[in-house]
């Protein structure tokens, strides 16, 4: 922001700290409800993911069980991590960041407890329902018909509360994070309702369903997780290193071009399929234009960080967030290229797409959410993280795990696509070729899960009151050198 802040007086500093403490106190209950259920679904989703992954190279594992057949576990995994972990973490981010940036307290928390309960009932019904055989086989929207009403009600409350906090703002200046959050809480209910309506409540004819499906599937990342995660990074990076964002204008360009172009992507998931060719072409154009917001955000974050990279050595929150921000640039560049027909011809229908999806949903969104949790939770509970070793385990398992995951499946998926495009290669050879890649993916998934367990232990310890009081300063990887 191009705002120069005069050195605050001792009195103003104390006043501002008291205000922040009051805001955090008002958020404590509801935000911790969303955060802790997010962590629960992260663990559940990890277990389902591991099971699905192992089943691809050990097909006899639990093969007698209908409940644990691959297709059902695959659907349950996506609901647990997508509508469970990532969405619940995003809600926590929306509520807390909006309160902080609007300098407004959260009011009527009881309704948010209700929203948290409804959301968790919804995810439980979705996951259990799918396992028991009610999955819908609509990617991202596999939840059985009795689960979505719970999400819709919960989402309505959350969106209304985020906007209400914004309307009660005491801070006249609008920060870019607030734009992203407002966009997110407006877009997500819209795409969710349109998708539910056109696929389930009043089913559209034939291929209109997959068109709506991918309009939703792509926008749930592009207009829900992405704005929340990018907005969070816009908050955390300047906040932790203590300097304003590099360019106000770049952040404006980044926001509006994201709003315009990201929403047009998505149809390239159906490239070559039985849909009008112009649809895929329109999405290819939208995807290519995505270079604009991505480059704007990348420059802005990089320039803000410039000269402060040493802080990555000791701040856990910053390290997770910057890992996520870099992944955002990577996954978006890759996504734009993948929308090109010549690339898509090879990678469509392969595990390359799975690798790309995890680069987006994990290396980008999930890592930034981890960064947020490491920053936010101590401010809500008043306790610092008890163990820097656990945070260290979490970071390295996550970073090495997702990198291994991405590399193994990208290479495997690429050659899977090349072989599938050549009818002289028997299908058996493709399956045999993929086996070691799937095994590597399982090992990577195991690392991610170990990281999640470390994270969950840290989280529960913090809630249970282990760890020093926050007045002593945050828990670092290594203690920064004292300025003399």
């Amino acid at each position: 922001m191009a705002v120069t802040v005069a050195e605050m007086s001792q009195h103003d500093r104390a006043k501002s700290a008291a205000e922040r403490a009051a805001i955090d106190a008002s958020c404590r209950g509801p935000v911790l409800v969303f955060a802790s259920s997010a962590v629960f679904w992260l663990l559940a989703g990890s277990m389902l993911a591991l099971l699905a992954s192992v089943k691809l190279h050990v097909p006899y594992l639990f093969t007698g069980s209908a409940e644990l057949t691959f297709g059902r576990v695959r659907m349950a995994h996506l609901q647990a991590v997508g509508i469970g972990w990532a969405s619940l973490a995003s809600v926590a981010a929306c509520l807390w960041l909006m309160c902080r940036l609007s300098r407004a307290e959260l009011i009527y928390p009881k309704m948010l407890y209700l929203a948290g309960a409804l959301w968790n009932i919804g995810v439980s019904l979705a996951v259990v329902g799918i396992i028991l055989g009610d999955g819908q086989s609509v990617e991202w929207l596999d939840a059985p018909p009795y689960a979505p009403p719970f999400f819709v009600a919960a989402l309505g409350i959350v969106s209304a509360w985020t906007v209400a906090v914004f309307r009660r703002r005491r801070e006249p200046h609008l920060y870019v994070t607030q734009w992203y959050l407002l966009g997110a809480v407006f877009w997500f209910p819209w795409i969710y309702l349109v998708a539910q309506f056109m696929i389930f409540w009043s089913p559209a004819v034939g291929v209109v369903q997959p068109i709506v499906n991918w309009w939703f599937g792509h926008n749930v990342l592009g207009l829900w997780f992405t704005p929340v995660a990018v907005g969070t990074a816009y908050y955390l990076i300047p906040k932790i290193i203590g300097r304003p964002v590099h360019s106000y204008y770049l952040s404006i360009i980044g926001f509006w071009s994201l709003a315009l172009f990201y929403s047009w992507a998505g149809m390239h998931h159906l490239i070559g399929g039985p849909i009008p060719a112009w649809l895929a072409t329109a999405s290819t154009v939208g995807s290519m234009m995505m270079f604009i917001p991505v480059i704007a955000v990348a420059i802005n974050h990089h320039m803000t960080l410039l000269g402060h990279f040493h802080r990555l050595r000791y701040s856990p929150a910053l390290r997770f967030t910057v890992f996520g921000a870099i992944s955002y640039t990577l996954v978006s560049f890759q996504g734009s290229l993948m929308a090109l027909k010549s690339v898509s011809e090879t990678v469509h229908f392969t595990h390359y797409i799975v690798a790309h999806a995890h680069l987006g949903a994990y290396a980008f969104v999930t890592m930034i959410m981890f960064g947020l949790f490491y920053y936010m939770i101590p401010r809500l509970t008043g306790r610092e993280w008890a163990s820097s070793v656990l945070i260290r385990i979490h970071f390295w398992c996550a970073a090495v795990g997702i990198t291994t995951y991405f590399v193994a499946l990208s290479i495997g998926g690429w050659w899977q696509g090349r072989m599938m495009n050549n009818p002289d290669v028997p299908f058996a050879n493709i399956v045999a070729y993929l086996l070691p890649h799937w095994l590597t993916r399982t090992l990577a998934g195991l690392m991610l899960t170990i990281g999640h367990v470390a994270f969950a232990i840290s989280f529960v310890m913090n809630l249970a009151g282990w760890g020093k009081q926050r007045s002593g300063g945050p828990t670092f990887f290594v203690e920064p050198e004292k300025k003399t």
Partner: protein, 272 residues
Amino acid sequence: MDRGIVIFLGALLTFSSSWLGLVVFPFRQLGQEQPYQKDEGDIPYPQPLQGLALAGMRVYQHNGCMYCHTQQVRSEKFGDWWDANGEHKTGADIKRSYGLRRTVSRDYIYDNPTMLGTMRTGPDLANIGVRNPSEPWHHTHLLNPRSANSWSIMPSFAFLYAREKIVGSRSDKALSLAREWTVDPGYRWRPSAKEWEAILARQGDSLVAQYTAGQPAAIDITTTEGKKRLLEFWLTTPEEEYQVVPKAEGEALVAYLLALRKAEFPLPEAKE
């Protein structure tokens, strides 16, 4: 003007453009498609699924089959490779006999949900009813895919089948599979060394007689080698007292697979 209103209107406008362009417009363009009828009196194509096949579609849907199998055939121009002579070619889907032609939107007008799929861990199934019309093959393959293709990683769908004691004569619907596939449905069964000894002690002589009836050379089951050879033979014979039959869901699923004939009927718009 209030900044909040600016953001709201901007978010509304940008997003409405995509909603209109990618959802509403295709809905209007594709929503009215009718079945194809070349001449009056012809049976229109496609036809909605009915009865058993419709029930089978639900089994396919609820078990997430589409997460490994697509149902769409891409055009002859799509997908490229170089053949053994270094010649550049396109159209792998049709060359892999996934269909006789590409699939088009009209093929799906009665599908609900429309399970195009996005992943080919397994092969495309848009036209599986034409490509492999054998009902017994699909049953044996679903019970344990490794009984048909040793390299397969598809899950066994043994929960769609029941193993039961034969009462009277063997059912017409019973799967004609050897005992290694039927004793423990879904898995590949082998007796332990001890169990095999017990079986040999009980019925060794009759097994030897059975074996020698079809073989020129005699077998000596007092040797380890002989025991092993007899075991291999015995595992490939059907169980005498038990049979495996499809449950209602298994029959429905196969009926659905056989009804998948999306890329066969010639449609004028699917010429390329």
